[in-house]
Amino acid sequence: MAVIFQKPKALKDTSMHYCPGCTHGIAHRLVAEALDELDIEGKTVGIASVGCSYNSYDYFACDMIQAPHGRAPAVATGVKRSKPDCVVFTYQGDGDLAAIGTAEIIHAAARGENITVIFINNTIYGMTSGQMAPTTLLNQYTTTTPYGRIADLHGFPINVCEMLATLQGPAYIERASLHDVKHIRKAKEAVKKAFKVQLAKKGFSLVELLSTCPTNWGLSPVESLKRIKDEMIPHYPLGVFKGENLEV
């Protein structure tokens, strides 16, 4: 009998602090699996952002930098431009990337910065207890939209992949989901491809992962997965937005 599934090497043994059933843990594993399978952990520098994953360096085994809220793409740029041989990725939530970090992600993308961005969209600010994110769906209740998100007051959700895809800089942009086994496997391929794009020096790659926040959604982990499928995917369609035919 052979081991066919276990914790990837690029994840440390430390138990993660995420809430029960939070798919941040799955996203971490997919990144680590990619580092393992491409055998690049040793030359990788990860950039943790500010959000529930602020201390993802406690879990990822590669070298890491903790970046100010929203600025991970700029920090990654500093790393990549000074050490072009390093593999550089950021791991950012939707508050981090799509709110305070809007300028940084857009310009890293527009520059075609040769980095990989893992973007966790859980339609909420998890860490700070459930405020509206730019990705919060209309009518969604959050601690700062206690009467639901109303377009007239709070504006519309932002589809990051679609927006970035209008730029010339990015080489590869895909949105995947973590709500069931089949999609997790697809998500894994997307993450791996993103790193391959970087290794091939093709430029900016980003994978958006639809993720859960059972705690702040007020749903069980199982119900949370269902919410991705029923409510998030209709607004955030899965697929490749840039680089569909890119061979790496």
Binding site: H17, Y18, C52
Partner: protein, 177 residues
């Protein structure tokens, strides 16, 4: 008299609301009160705790470096807070969860299988109230009338129907030996 109370356990055991109820009751008793929760992500998964001060005089510091009344609902909390209790203080422990008694002999301790009793009553969430019952019985921390009023004030409306049962749980705690 100053009651300096620490309540500690896992998140989700009602540690924070137990503290708020105490503080509210203390206020109704005409005392000066403060309540300070642990806050932020440290609570997630880890331990939650809150500090309550009920005093005849203005509360100088809501932060407790020591206390005279301690309620613990898990083992890490007992390990962490046992030594902070002043000589002569009291420790009330949920013995359905915590697998040891206190090590010290200069404090009074009570082991009450509160979660088990609560679960037998049909609602695990009453465990905190049972422990509070014991505390109040021993230390007269707050009055029973105002404790009940505090329940109405602190709990959201939709839980008010549970209050009679909570008061029963309180009594069970008070009488537990």
């Amino acid at each position: 008299m100053v009651h300096e109370i620490i309540l500690a356990g896992f998140g989700g055991q009602g540690i924070l609301s137990a503290g708020r109820i105490l503080a509210y009751a203390g206020m109704l008793d005409g005392k000066q009160v403060s309540w300070l929760p642990s806050y932020g992500p440290e609570m997630r998964g880890g331990t939650a705790n809150s500090s309550v001060v009920i005093s005849d005089n203005p509360v100088d510091s809501p932060v407790l470096n020591s206390c005279n009344e301690l309620i613990v609902m898990n083992r890490p909390s007992l390990d962490k807070f046992e030594d902070l209790v002043e000589e002569g203080g009291i420790i009330v422990i949920d013995s359905s969860i915590v697998d040891r008694d206190v090590k010290r002999s200069d404090v009074t301790s009570f082991m009450i299988p509160a979660t088990k009793i609560a679960s037998d009553m049909g609602n695990m969430a009453f465990a905190n109230i049972i422990l509070l019952g014991k505390l109040i019985n021993e230390r007269r921390t707050v009055t029973i009338e105002n404790f009940e009023k505090a329940l109405y004030a602190v709990l959201p409306e939709r839980k008010h129907n549970l209050i009679p049962d909570e008061m029963k749980a309180l009594k069970i705690g008070m009488e537990y030996i």
